[in-house]
Amino acid sequence: MSRRRVPRPVQPAGEVPDDTGCTVLHVDMDAFFASVELLRHPHLRGRPVIVGGGRRGVVLSATYEARRAGVHAAMPMGRARRLCPQAVVLPPHHEDYARVSAGVMAVFRSTTERVEPLSLDEAFLDVAAARRRLGGPTAIARLLRDRIADEQGITCSVGVAATKFVAKLASAAAKPDGLLVVPRARTVEFLHELPVAALWGVGERTEETLLRLGLRTVADIAHTPVETLRRALGEATGRSLHELSWGRDPRPVHAEREERSVGAEQTFARDVDDPRLVHREILRLAERTAGRMRAAGLAGRTVVLKVRFADFTTLTRSRTLPEPTDVTRVVHATAHGLYEALGLQRARIRLVGVRVEGLVPASAQHRQLVLGERPQGWREADEAVDRVSARFGRGAVRPASLLPPPGAEGGDPWAAAAPR
């Protein structure tokens, strides 16, 4: 929801919002990476601070002082520096973020069992079962904010609502360091003032379509016949947007997030137009993806290739296999085939990604054998590689084409694959 700020509705002073039935909390750390950095550099408090950099400079996080100048996450660093020349730029310290995140998640889990983490710094909580112990949702939200500030020294914002999607909008509206309760009775009113882009599932393309139809606010969507929406946006999107526009979101808070896909992607240190480098990267990503699947005991049927070009346009292509696989060679051959099918002529590529979807437990899979298949095939080779990696570290055995070339600089795109 960071793409657009959600305006904060005016909550009448002194009025205690009715939080009956609002058991879903969305808790989101404020400028997480930047806030953690400020713990190391307290003297920078109150100044614009940007976390990011590295060779491929993008902003990973920025304090609200920097955001006021227009800086936001994922922005190229050069642009961020121009917008906010006085900002202090700090390199990221991912271990610190992981440590603070673990502390925050521990606070969540001591509050309720129903925690659905979305990333390092945000999660949904269903506090229905904690009310007797800790008080109403609003009280629990205050408690969470206090504990996180005390124990971790950072601030967060909390949205309290009856559904996940409204809770998430509420936390965005409460930012920074705020709390917003959207009472059940005022959900529709709250939603209807928002721009269409605030709705879950409205990306740039959908937004364009909606604006072309003259639909600017959520209220506009809500008052458009669902048939019209379905015609314009497709069966699923049309229906779901209409449901969301009336605050209907049946998705429960899932304590364990189900793995829907396994994948890896790599942004090249410099844009790449050499197909050999891209091929090698696809091999490395396929290896990593299939290795993760085997480690998790999963197999998948759909292989997805993602290619982002220097101008940020992004293509994804997918192919569904006759049956699920977790074999590196199959994932690679499929992804490679998808890349070849794009027929690119020295296009400048910024990022490639390989992903496998349609996951099922590998052990539950019957396998249609292939004619001429060797009894000891690639699957067995993969298993041997996995055992060696488990013992000697990742990358101990790998395709020769993934060995770092002699005298490779750190800037080579596959050098990052070398075992540390």
Binding site: G337, H366, R367, Q368, L369, L371, E373
Partner: protein
């Protein structure tokens, strides 16, 4: 051009020619069917999509010889719907007027001179009986792959050694191979060709009714195959590429084989497969005198059934994709089916057998890879 032709003759000829019409023509003229009428009273209809060509000659009363190119799709739809009356076709300027009884159609013509010339039939031909060819093609095309990303496997491999013609197709899970005799013009003919399975089945289906089919394969590096029967001609480009060496996949020997009545086995497989979810197999257990079939597992639905079977060799349990098994059994025409095995993870061979006791007919063999059950 001015001619008169019987309605049924026209409709059948147009239907044949329309086969090769591309659904998305790369150039507009290829959406057309070329009509050519000659003074001898023959009308030729042709279509071509650069890969497959179809041509048919029918008798007609030709008043004025000539040529015209009209939309094939439209001509096919119209001729199919006409009343059973003689049809008259006349070119008038840039239009062809088609009249039949009280109906009249004006069809815009396309420039004939832009139409590509159809490939000539290759030399080096021979003949084979239509019904046998149709049967053989149907028996092997079931095993051809429909996956367009592996073009080679969407083809049927034809091998000719003298009067022996072998057809093969595989999608990597099963392999169908049929051997038949044909009469080559030159007794020492030797050739190989890979023909798209879809094209081959269409040709075989529409030419099979005629007694004898002429098949023409260029010698050496030719890239075209041609068929001719009863005034109908078809050519097709061959699929390019090296076909895998599949003959070696048949096991050298099979220590175990079972003979089962074919129709009851197919019925039983269809029944138990009703509970087999997508990608789950039917399990077959052969023991002395009995074949037990099972499908489904765990908490979901399950089914089982047993049949009489004559088993030679040790008992064996093996699992197959039910559709693959049914395809193979359905390709046989004999009363009994023989299933030959080496072990549960090795391919099984299906052959037909006329009598419960006796030898199997090896002119058609269907090699089927089993499914390995989850542990």
């Amino acid at each position: 051009m001015k001619l008169q032709v019987e309605r049924d003759v026209l409709a059948e000829a147009v239907a044949w020619a329309a086969r090769a019409l591309p659904s998305r023509p790369p150039v507009p003229v290829l959406a057309g069917v070329l009509l050519e009428a000659d003074a001898q009273g023959t009308v030729t209809l042709s279509s071509f999509d650069y890969e497959v060509s179809a041509r048919v000659e029918v008798p007609a009363r030709v008043d004025e010889p000539g040529r015209a190119l009209v939309s094939g799709r439209l001509l096919a739809d119209i001729s199919r719907s006409l009343p059973a009356r003689p049809v008259e076709l006349v070119t008038e300027g840039t239009k062809v007027t088609l009249s039949c009884g009280a109906s009249r159609f004006n069809l815009l013509t396309m420039p004939v001179e832009e139409y590509p010339s159809l490939p000539a039939m290759p030399s080096g031909s021979g003949t084979l009986p239509g019904d046998t060819f149709t049967e053989a093609v149907a028996q092997v095309t079931i095993a051809a792959s429909r996956d367009e990303t592996l073009p080679i496997l969407t083809g049927v491999r034809m091998e000719i050694e003298g009067n022996r013609l072998t057809l093969m197709a595989t999608d990597r899970y099963r392999l169908a191979m049929r051997e038949l005799e044909w009469q080559p013009d030159a007794p020492e003919t030797s050739a190989i060709a890979l023909v798209r399975a879809r094209t081959l089945s269409e040709v075989a289906r529409s030419m099979g009714a005629t007694g004898s089919i002429t098949m023409a394969l260029g010698q050496g590096g030719a890239d075209l195959i041609g068929f001719e029967a009863g005034g109908r001609h078809a050519t097709s480009l061959l699929v390019d590429g090296e076909y895998p060496k599949v003959r070696a996949l048949f096991p050298a020997e099979s220590p175990i084989h079972a003979v089962v009545e074919r129709a009851p086995l197919m019925e039983a497989v269809k029944r138990v497969a009703l509970v087999a979810e997508r990608n789950t197999p039917v399990r077959l257990r052969f023991e002395d005198g009995v074949l037990a079939l099972e499908a489904g597992q765990g908490e979901d639905a399950q089914a089982s059934e047993s049949l009489d079977a004559t088993l030679t060799g040790e008992s064996i349990s093996i699992a197959f994709n039910p559709q693959f098994l049914l395809d193979g059994l359905g390709a046989l025409s004999t009363t009994y089916a023989r299933l030959s095995f080496t072990q549960a993870t090795r391919p099984a061979v299906l052959t037909g057998q006329r009598e419960a006791e006796g030898d199997d007919d090896e002119s058609y063999r269907y090699l089927l890879m089993p499914v390995r059950l989850a542990t």
